[in-house]
Symmetry: C2
Subunit: 305 residues, 2 copies
Amino acid sequence: MSSVGAALPALPARITIREVGPRDGLQPEPPVPVATRVQLVMALIDAGVSLIEVAAFVSPKAVPAMAGAAEVMAALPRSPSVRHVALVPNVRGAELAAEAGVDALTLTVSASEGYSQRNVHMSVEDSLAQVAAIRSAIGGDLPMDTVISCAFGSPYEGDLDPAAVADLGRRALGSGSTSLTYADTTGMATPRRVRDLLAETGNDGGLHLHDTRGTALVNAYAALEAGVTRFDTAVGGLGGSPFAAGAGGNLATEDLVHMCDDLGIATGIDLGALLAISSQVAETVGHPVPSRVAAAGPRSRLHPG
Amino acid sequence: MSSVGAALPALPARITIREVGPRDGLQPEPPVPVATRVQLVMALIDAGVSLIEVAAFVSPKAVPAMAGAAEVMAALPRSPSVRHVALVPNVRGAELAAEAGVDALTLTVSASEGYSQRNVHMSVEDSLAQVAAIRSAIGGDLPMDTVISCAFGSPYEGDLDPAAVADLGRRALGSGSTSLTYADTTGMATPRRVRDLLAETGNDGGLHLHDTRGTALVNAYAALEAGVTRFDTAVGGLGGSPFAAGAGGNLATEDLVHMCDDLGIATGIDLGALLAISSQVAETVGHPVPSRVAAAGPRSRLHPG
């Protein structure tokens, strides 16, 4: 028995979802044509998504699934109410993205030295220097969100000091980033790790959660209670390793929207439209998506007859 | 931004897990021999489980997977530190379970009239009358836990009034039950529904959560925050419909223990031993178990090399 009711924290009235399905979600899948990716982005915007990662300006040889970033941007109708963002790994990518007219850049810096070396073949320090180089190359106007990967632990070093992660975030801001997103890259976060990091950061960023261990939604809930109001999600929960279908993907947009709908937290996204897109995405990638809400239907769906 | 840290609720220091894998978990699977079920129960007890649903005293014609309940009980070594409980649907089952020496009975009464009619071909009122009849038949000593199914919504009537669900629980106590467990039978709970029901019940029971929509763990977390200290779980997350492998099962014991371990909540259960059992259970049932922690390994597992 304990203090039921009064002691439970209030939840935010509204959150912003940065939909990363067309980029982070599709990146590990076999390449999907530009036209199909454009249709996906437009459908998501029709469903109410207003912040969306549409492309990565990376080498098409290194990442074939992301080829055609400029073509994606060129094909998308623009609207002042929707922000199109793109991942960039370096100055060249940032310049191409800026030329293509993105509304913001996404960069990554890892909190884990081991992960940084293996993922981008760079030290954390060199990665931070790249943030500054990108800001210098593109000038002062374009928003740059830096994703701090492995922010809740690393499969190479294990648990990381939340104070050190928060300090890295502050250095990324000092290097020209305009906002931060803390990523649970390999699904090591728990509500305790979320609380611990947010206590150090002062809750100054968004969260990017992966469902490797089935904890993405509970971590999102713990973050909502702590006042976080921006989340990265991918339609269907795409983004997992292609070698472990159904496991390890991003927090599914429909799973977060489904929960927020019942919690009275506005997302601006229509769940029914989103589920229709998710179903289409499963056909596009040729396998079921990890989202459980996509599989079972929303809680409002009654037994037929 | 909001009140990070100070406003977040404390969590309980310790919880009790009622392991239901050998009963609720295996019931929808093809029959597993008595000896294998006995081995499973003993392995779970070795891993630290101290409250375990080992059998259902039901018609073996109706539920072939649960045949041999008395044989399971007879084969189990007894210890004062472990409570063996059995599901019983009626007076006859309760008498057989009592004769077999169970430490407690589990009964079910549904909060949903539509579900009650379809599941047990009885009205909710008749089901309550059965609770009283069972108490009358077995006398006053044996603990009887009544599981209130569809406590967080029904696929037949949709959302149910939490005050009415709480009232039904009180009537089950008045009919001879000694404790209550609120079940999210079809995965309709969200943290909001958990909070709402617990506010009505005064948090007087355990929770039995299903992962149909990927919400079992977040609902458990919301319940922990509200002070709930007893949970039903099934090793592997077994218990889903055999027609939807991997979806809809019970909250996996290893998923709850994994989270509690990192939250500093004692469960008495050893995660490593539990994961070994889960792996064995997957072989027993012939398909992967739904647990994501079982698939990915615990967060403490570092990258090899």
